[in-house]
């Protein structure tokens, strides 16, 4: 039975209903497509990094192990005494003396002796490297290559390994590591945090809680939004002009007559940290303001209502209520600083440095700079190193973000427990 209403007949209503549902379905598919595409690209990125981090390496030894001891072609076949004797016999006297003074050969572990011999006597050189995909699918071609090259042998290598984290930079890709870069990154982040967090949160509290709504403060607010969108390289130029050049005696430590690296010329961890601090400052300010805005007016009113001053209200009621949001935002901002390359390159971070940073007046390099530098080298092995360093950087970022989530959860759990 058809009933005529202002919405049409029943069949009209059904037709329209189907049309409405169809439109909803189309949009749902569009959104699904978008998220699939995003995940696909992320996966692709991750796969390409993993691809370059693992794979076969063709090596050629400068001195064959068989020439050290007759009949043993692999160093792993040596017994401990054989290793010790081989080391004594083949290390140059200067190196032997240095090694002995660090730790006598007799007390060194098997693994230690192997790496000593590899480093100073056998000296394997990288001929060619392959990615994980090629290593798995084109094993024959790789083996053929190895056979065609005289004296070469294949080994499957994970470029990311404990040694990679502990070793400093080296011209030899087999021994190069990221220790100095990792320490540099951690130092920089520490300075960035110490500089940007108190100033950023303080500025946000002033703007949100104290500043009157007048033309000057509105202009200030607008400029903070603009600053957060300024390209990071501009901050690099600012850092170069202000921290490296104008404040050189401060940032290189000569002002405090500290024991410093005279070649740093202001291009120190302090300069880098302050530059990145400026970069994340607007982000921290905006984030903190948002956190403060989210606190309901009723909380402030109830505090004022029993005779609290503005400062007591902010310190005892407002900040505890939004502390976790401020903290989470800050850690996310620091994660961004951790990945920045351009501003540090502009202020003149060292690209090759094998000395660990010892303090805020040291020269430095950071993980992203290390990655950039390695990936720019022509030899294939450095691309594998870059891949491994990217994984290290991702791990560091993940650790920081997990820390952010953990702190937030811990704080909110504490609140829930009190409930």
């Amino acid at each position: 039975m058809q009933t005529q209403t202002l919405f049409g007949t029943d069949s009209d209503i059904n037709v329209l209903m189907n049309k409405r549902k169809k439109i909803g379905l189309i949009w749902q598919v569009v959104f699904l497509f978008a998220i699939t595409l995003a995940i696909l690209f992320l996966l692709l990125l991750l796969l390409s990094v993993i691809d370059s981090t693992f794979g076969y390496v063709a090596l050629r030894n400068e001195v064959e192990p068989s020439s050290l001891i007759e009949g043993k072609t692999l160093i792993k076949e040596f017994s401990r005494t054989e290793l010790e004797n081989a080391a004594k016999a083949n290390l140059s006297s200067g190196i032997l003396r240095r090694v002995e003074s660090e730790k006598p050969l007799a007390q060194r572990s098997y693994h230690d002796l192997v790496s000593l011999l590899e480093q100073y006597v056998i000296k394997p050189k990288v001929l060619k490297t392959w990615g994980l995909w090629d290593s798995l699918t084109q094993t024959r071609t790789i083996e053929a290559y190895s056979l065609s090259e005289n004296g070469s042998y294949l080994t499957f290598k994970s470029w990311i390994n404990p040694q990679f984290f502990l070793a400093d930079q080296s011209a030899d890709p087999l021994h190069a590591g990221i220790r100095t870069a990792l320490l540099g990154s951690l130092w920089i982040i520490l300075i960035t945090f110490l500089f940007a967090f108190p100033i950023g949160v303080g500025a946000a509290i002033y703007l949100q809680e104290y500043a009157h709504d007048n033309r000057i403060n509105r202009l200030l607010q607008l400029n903070i939004f603009n600053l957060s969108a300024v390209p990071s390289i501009i901050y690099g130029l600012l850092g170069l002009a202000v921290f490296v050049r104008a404040m050189q005696s401060f940032t290189s430590g000569s002002m405090f007559s500290a024991l410093t690296d005279s070649t740093a010329n202001g291009r120190t961890i302090l300069s880098g940290g302050l530059t990145l601090g400026l970069l994340v400052l607007p982000i921290i300010i905006i984030n903190t303001q948002e956190a403060l805005k989210a606190i309901p007016a009723s909380l402030r009113m109830s505090s004022y209502g029993i005779g609290a001053t503005q400062w007591q209200t902010i310190w005892y009621q407002v900040l505890p209520a939004c502390g976790e949001r401020i903290l989470t935002g800050t850690i996310l901002a620091l994660s961004r600083a951790l990945g920045e390359t351009a501003p540090l390159v502009v202020i003149g971070a060292s690209t090759f440095i094998s000395v660990d940073p010892t303090g805020i007046f040291s020269k430095f390099t950071t993980l992203p700079i290390q990655i950039y530098q390695w990936s720019a080298r022509p030899q294939g092995a450095y691309r594998n190193l870059a891949g491994a360093a990217i994984i290290a950087l991702l791990i560091l970022l993940m650790v920081m973000n997990s820390l952010a989530i953990y702190t937030r959860d811990k704080l909110s759990k504490k609140k829930r427990l009190e409930l």
């Binding site: 709504d213 309901p296 009723s298 909380l299 402030r300 009113m301 109830s302 505090s303 004022y304 209502g305 029993i306 005779g307 609290a308 001053t309 007591q312 005892y316 009621q317 209520a321 609140k415 009190e418 409930l419």
Partner: protein, 276 residues
Amino acid sequence: MNTSNLAEALGLGFERTALPQQQKTTIALKNVNISYGTFLAVKDVSLDIYERQVTAFIGPSGCGKSTVLRSINRMNDMIRGASIEGEVLFNGHDLYAKDVDPVLIRRKIGMVFQKPNPFPKSIFENIAWGARINGFKGDYDELVETSLRSAALWEEVKDKLKQNALRLSGGQQQRLCIARTIAVQPEVILMDEPASALDPIATGKIEELIQELKASYTIIIVTHNMGQASRVSDHTAFFMVDKQRTGFLQEYAPTEQLFLNPGHKRTEEYISGKFG
């Protein structure tokens, strides 16, 4: 005379209100105008609030009764663009004089809000915090207990003082807010529709509590509920709003008089529910 006779005839306890001229005035508003920016919210309000009495502010929405209430402990200072003309006297002192600190006033004239808004802390802390920031030097356990007892909440929460206050029911939260206000020992308690977010049982408890608190405090209550105003208050101020949406005080009288023998036609229409 007319009023008293009428009240007597209806069996209302008219004797509970002493005559105004014999009472001590705690707060006096003199020709008060309050504006938000260029908008005149309330004009020419003059009234006396008597010590240890309950005064109710009633009137239709937007008539400025809450605005007037907030001007008494300078809560309007918090609202951008709010300004006031005229005088608000508290025990004879002008609250808006230059050397007066609004923070000090708010300790003396406490406030309870429409929506229960305890701090997201423990029940104990909710009460102790206000005292602590105001430099209380006595025994906190005792203070918390007496405050909770005065707010008729002690028996319900004495075993869970460490519990977060947000877990209490709405009515309990509101009584906690009253206890929190009492803890800093004010002289006056302002209540901005304290029961409008509560169910009838919780509302009844709040009304009972107001009757008890009257013995120690001067109370001003804003309410939309005619019954509530007639039940709890000794004096009632009826506010109206004019065509420019500016509020003004239409009538101020002892509660029985205002309800039984209103002086204005508008008042009568409002309390009998013809508009509002």
